[in-house]
């Protein structure tokens, strides 16, 4: 086109060429918009599927291709994505709740009532928030169990296991800080228990006579509450932790967690995963149909083995669509489960918090009730000692188990499923026996009323159970000549113990933490 053509005068009664081009462009907007969105075009070829993934800000955390072993349902059961999906649900519903919730004791409870009764969809959003939080905690615990039982924590993935433990702690912290916000009797007294557990190092410093000079317990409680009692200071800092600090920490750790998955070579797989996953379907085209021009924008010399070195892509599939449909499927399933629960069951709200009227029994959130059961004997051991031992033990597992046999397989390693089943028996028998003994006969103070508390701190159902589990684990290490066997036994016992203690704390403990077979037997006030 010459410079002059655009200025030619319009023929009388017809559109100018510029006008025609304008209209043509206007009609083409939807198509052009879509094309501008997908810079490499629709993901219909393997090359464009690759570009779709690594060219997208949000998606390029994923690998472009994933091994078919990873995509099997039985490999991961989608638990990690389920936890993330539940977190996203809590994030979205939480942001919506933030429009109406007021974090000051005088108005917090009433703002929750208003959300429940008059805010459009308020009841629904609050229910989803509560249920998604519960689903998240459950999913995180199950995900940890899955990673453990498939020995996916082994080198080079030890650090990712550590990040996962940090995520567990942050998840529990999010749930705990959120628990206080409704400012009802349930919230107030559950946090009273939590704060007093934070103060429990005094049990040790008191026994040593150090409290006047060195009081970490008191300091911890004061930092947690911002005051000597639970009031507006505590509410504000719990709110801040719950809506900003912990979610940001979680998001950062989740980012690192996914990044490490990439760098560690994707999900852990058995050494013979290629053979076991078999030949691909005829419809899938695992090889590039075009000569690759550039599959990766960055190249770096790295030490060690990368997933793609030495192997072709035959056993891998493009992340788009295979991985993304899996993730979306798990996400929507999580949404569905949370919606069903939300429509069926309301998030609880008891009376307004009343410092003069303690709940009896005052119970922590369910995931802490196993600990509270142990706290009933020794606040320090149950609240801090045993959790620290457990977390330390869990953190050490990948560094102590340097074996390679069975990585990627469920219950992989010496002993296998039969060892796990026997450990279930051992774990259940031990915890039920100790609980039955303590409930039926009492503990040391029944027979020695004046025994110093430090004795009970050191010898209580929690420590005895831990010792039994540890002894069993050591025995397994010797018997199978394998750290993995010991770890399998110990972790299984820990899960059984956690489950039984949580059930006892939830259902069988009533006022004054006395044992009752059923809540219908609880005495009246």
């Amino acid at each position: 086109m010459t410079a002059g053509s655009s200025r030619s005068t319009a023929p009388a009664g017809g559109a100018t060429p510029a006008m025609q081009r304008f209209l043509h462009n206007l009609r083409a907007v939807p198509r052009q918009f879509r094309a501008s969105l997908l810079r490499s075009g629709a993901p219909t070829t393997d090359r464009s599927r690759s570009s779709f993934v690594f060219g997208n800000l949000f998606l390029h955390l994923h690998a472009v291709r994933v091994h078919r072993w990873t995509l099997r349902w039985a490999t991961t059961w989608g638990l990690g994505i389920m936890a993330l999906s539940a977190f996203l649900l809590t994030l979205i519903t939480g942001i919506l709740l933030m429009f109406y919730y007021k974090p000051y004791p005088a108005v917090a409870y009433d703002s929750i009532k208003d959300i429940h009764f008059v805010v459009p969809t308020g009841q629904f959003m609050r229910n989803i928030h509560r249920w998604a939080a519960q689903v998240m905690v459950v999913a995180v615990i199950l995900h940890m169990a899955r990673v453990f039982f498939t020995a996916a924590y082994r080198a080079p993935r030890e650090y990712n296991w550590v990040i996962g433990m940090a995520l567990l702690v942050v998840t529990l912290g999010l749930s705990f800080t959120g628990y206080l916000l409704p400012w009802d009797q349930l919230a107030y007294w559950a946090i009273t228990i939590g704060a007093n557990i934070a103060q429990s190092p005094r049990e040790v410093t008191d026994a040593l006579g150090l409290t006047a000079f060195f009081d970490p317990g008191g300091l911890q409680r004061f930092i947690l509450l911002g005051s000597d009692d639970i009031g507006e200071e505590a509410l504000i800092r719990f709110y801040l932790l719950h809506v900003m600090i912990l979610p940001l920490a979680l998001a950062a750790l989740v980012g690192v967690h996914f990044w490490r998955i990439r760098k560690d070579g994707g999900m852990a797989k058995p050494a013979d995963a290629d053979e076991r996953v078999g030949a691909p379907d005829v419809q899938t085209y695992p090889v590039f149909t075009e000569a690759p021009t550039r599959t990766y924008h960055l190249a770096a010399i790295v030490r060690g083995r990368t997933p793609a070195v030495g192997r072709g892509p035959e056993r891998t599939l493009p992340a788009m669509p295979h991985l993304f449909y899996a993730e979306l499927g798990v996400f929507m399933l999580t949404v569905l489960v949370c919606l069903v629960l939300s429509l069926v069951s309301d998030a609880p709200l008891k009376e307004l918090a009343n410092p003069a009227v303690p709940e009896n029994p005052a119970k922590a959130p369910w995931y802490f009730l196993g600990l509270q059961e142990l706290v009933a004997y020794s606040a320090f051991m149950g609240g801090m000692g045993i959790p620290m031992i457990v977390i330390l033990g869990l953190l050490l597992i990948p560094y102590l188990d340097r074996e390679t046999d069975g990585t990627g397989d469920w219950f992989g390693g010496p002993g296998g499923l039969s060892l796990v089943l026997r450990s279930v028996v051992v774990g259940l028998v031990a915890v039920l026996a100790i609980e039955a003994f303590a409930i039926r006969f009492g503990w040391i103070r029944e027979w020695f009323p004046h025994v110093p508390q430090i004795v009970i701190t050191l010898v209580n159902p929690g420590t005895v159970l831990t010792a039994i589990y540890a002894a069993y684990s050591v025995w397994l290490v010797r018997r199978y000549d394998s750290t993995r066997a010991g770890a399998l036994g110990l972790f299984t016992c820990f899960l059984c113990g956690f489950l039984v203690l949580t059930i006892v704390g939830t259902h069988f403990r009533g006022p004054n933490w006395d044992f009752f077979w059923s809540p219908s037997q609880w005495p009246v006030h």
Binding site: V118, P120, G329
Partner: protein, 560 residues
């Protein structure tokens, strides 16, 4: 099926399920909410012209000073601003004509319940975890007590007598009063429209109403002025005034409160800081959370009203360990007391909303009960000493003395009774009513004493001697005391079946003549014999011996 297809099916099923559930949630939220349904029912009952103008929307009464965000009018739409009530409808009727505008005060401040709720069970407070359920329809007048904490009530029998006079003198022929009376005659014959008297106690009325009525009667030639008006004696006029002064729009509550002040409850219980310390403070009894009460021995509903009623019938069964005796009350009295207790709700509202009665009581110390001796006695003393001073005998408790006993009043001076009332009997059951903040003022003590004096129908003793005149031998007295008195009064005078003699208030304020005469004459109706005369169960004592005993008693007195 390969994994991709499985995942696609999973995604499809979950997504469809989610959409369905979101649809369900949207339907629940926007169509099937209880209050929406009710408002649609209401609209259907409106005349067509108003139907079009009516919109289904959430409504509330908002008054931050009273902490009110009351959404009751989302279901009870007939009471909302700008809406018309549907006559006779239980839900959609308009609010009865009451003193305070519900659209300004909200609903919960009077009725209780959960104002912020929009579901019936939650709003009426019968759902779990709401500590203040709504008052029942018959008890709704108890809600007045939330702000009107010190409604002044007259003496019960004057109140009832005044009410009887109003009815007997045909005042209701022309005046409306507490939803009765007024001028409508059968057949629509016209009559005289006189002012409604239901709230004249609060609003005021002309004090010379009688003179006005008589003038009108003299001027009238026929009609109700002639037929319904007659002479009323000055005493009856006073009682009618007492009755009218109590008309504040809550007749049943005023009556219930008057009943309360005849049963001596404040002898053990404090309300608003006035009363005794033996029982729990009742100032907020109406706010008790029914879910926290023990219903083990309470048949019937798990409501506060039922618990209170059963408690009156059998306190020791309902509240184990209770010191409260079975009072033997009639059902009518129990119903009145339960209503009154439900009105004890002491809520905290800004002073701008404090009613006159509360200001008068809390700022200026006005009493909420009548100031005459009979009412004061009925308020503080009657539960232990009996309404006529006859004393009370409750099962499981030592008998309370009959202070109306003529033998006692014949020897006890007014000064002695006054001192006993003020200082009590330390260490025994009689509290010191003059000392503590919750007790009686000097004028009130004198009124009570005068009332007690009236029980016996005997004149007080002439106190012509010095208070201390006995000159006996204390050692003889000790010997005689041990032989004759210790069996009932205790070896150290600590009191057993007989009163405590080793009591500083008694010894300080009793004259020697009182002690001597009591021993000489005894006290009929009690176990105390008259030792001046012989008897089968006691030895006769000479005057010198009696004086010796009194001398010995005086050695117990701590002087100064």
């Amino acid at each position: 099926m390969n994994t991709l297809r499985a995942n696609k099916w999973l995604l499809l099923a979950s997504s469809v399920g989610t959409l369905v559930l979101l649809g369900v949630a949207a339907y629940r939220e926007n169509v099937s909410r209880e209050w929406r349904r009710l408002q649609r029912d209401y609209a259907a009952k409106l005349p067509p012209a108003q139907q079009a103008a009516f919109t289904v929307q959430l409504r509330q009464v908002y008054n931050p000073a009273l902490h009110a965000s009351d959404r009751c009018i989302s279901c009870h739409v007939g009471m909302a601003a700008g809406e018309t009530g549907i006559k006779g409808d239980r839900v959609f009727g308009s609010h009865p004509d009451v003193v305070h505008d519900p659209l300004q005060y909200g609903c919960v401040v009077c009725h209780g319940g959960q104002g912020r709720a929009t579901e019936q069970a939650d709003a009426h407070g019968t759902a779990p975890f709401w500590p203040e359920p709504m008052l029942t329809r018959t008890a709704s007048v108890a809600g007045c007590g939330a702000c009107h904490t010190h409604v002044a009530v007259p003496k019960l029998d004057e109140l009832r007598h005044g009410q009887a006079l109003v009815e007997r003198n045909d005042c209701l022929a022309c005046h409306g009063l507490d939803n009765r009376g007024g001028t409508l005659r059968p057949g629509g014959a016209p009559g005289v429209q006189a002012p409604d008297l239901s709230r004249v106690g609060a609003k005021g009325y002309t004090r010379d109403w009688y003179a006005h009525h008589m003038r009108e009667r003299a001027a009238a030639s026929g009609g109700p002025w002639r037929t319904s008006m007659g002479e009323i004696s000055p005493q009856d006029q006073r009682l009618i005034n007492v009755f009218l002064d109590s008309r504040v729009g809550a007749p049943r509550l005023v009556d219930a409160k008057a009943v309360f002040h005849t049963l001596g409850c404040r002898g053990c219980h404090k309300i608003g800081g006035v009363g005794g310390d033996d029982g729990p403070d009742l100032s907020r009894e109406g706010e008790k959370d029914p879910a926290r009460l023990d219903y083990t021995h309470v048949p019937g509903d798990h409501t506060l009203a039922n618990w209170l009623g059963q408690h009156f019938r059998a306190p020791g069964a309902v509240a184990p360990g209770s010191l409260m005796p079975v009072l033997g009350l009639s059902e009518e009295q129990i119903n009145a007391l339960v209503l009154y207790l439900q009105s004890l709700r002491r809520s905290s509202y800004p002073e701008a909303y404090w009613p006159k009665d509360r200001v008068l009581a809390q700022r200026f110390g006005a009493r909420e009960f009548a100031a005459d001796g009979a009412t004061l006695y009925g308020t503080f003393c009657a539960a232990c000493h009996g309404l006529r001073g006859e004393g009370m005998r409750y099962p499981g408790m030592a008998a309370f003395p009959a202070i109306g006993n003529p033998d006692f009043l014949a020897v006890a001076s007014d000064r002695f009774i006054s001192a006993t009332v003020q200082h009590g009997r330390p260490g025994r059951r009689m509290p010191a009513w003059g000392a503590a903040e919750g007790g009686l003022r000097p004028a009130e003590v004198e009124a009570v004493v005068a009332h007690v004096r009236g029980f016996g129908g005997v004149a007080p003793p002439a106190e012509s001697e010095p208070a201390r005149w006995v000159r006996g031998n204390a050692d003889d007295g000790q010997r005689l005391y041990a032989a004759n008195c210790a069996s009932c009064h205790g070896p150290q005078g600590e009191g057993k079946e007989g009163p405590q003699l080793h009591n500083q208030v008694l010894l300080t304020h009793a004259t020697d003549r009182y002690l001597v005469e009591t021993v000489r004459r005894g006290r009929r109706g009690t176990s105390m014999p008259g030792f001046a005369n012989p008897g089968s169960a006691h030895r006769q004592l000479a005057d010198a011996e009696i004086e010796a005993i009194v001398t010995f008693l005086r050695t117990w007195e701590v002087k100064g």
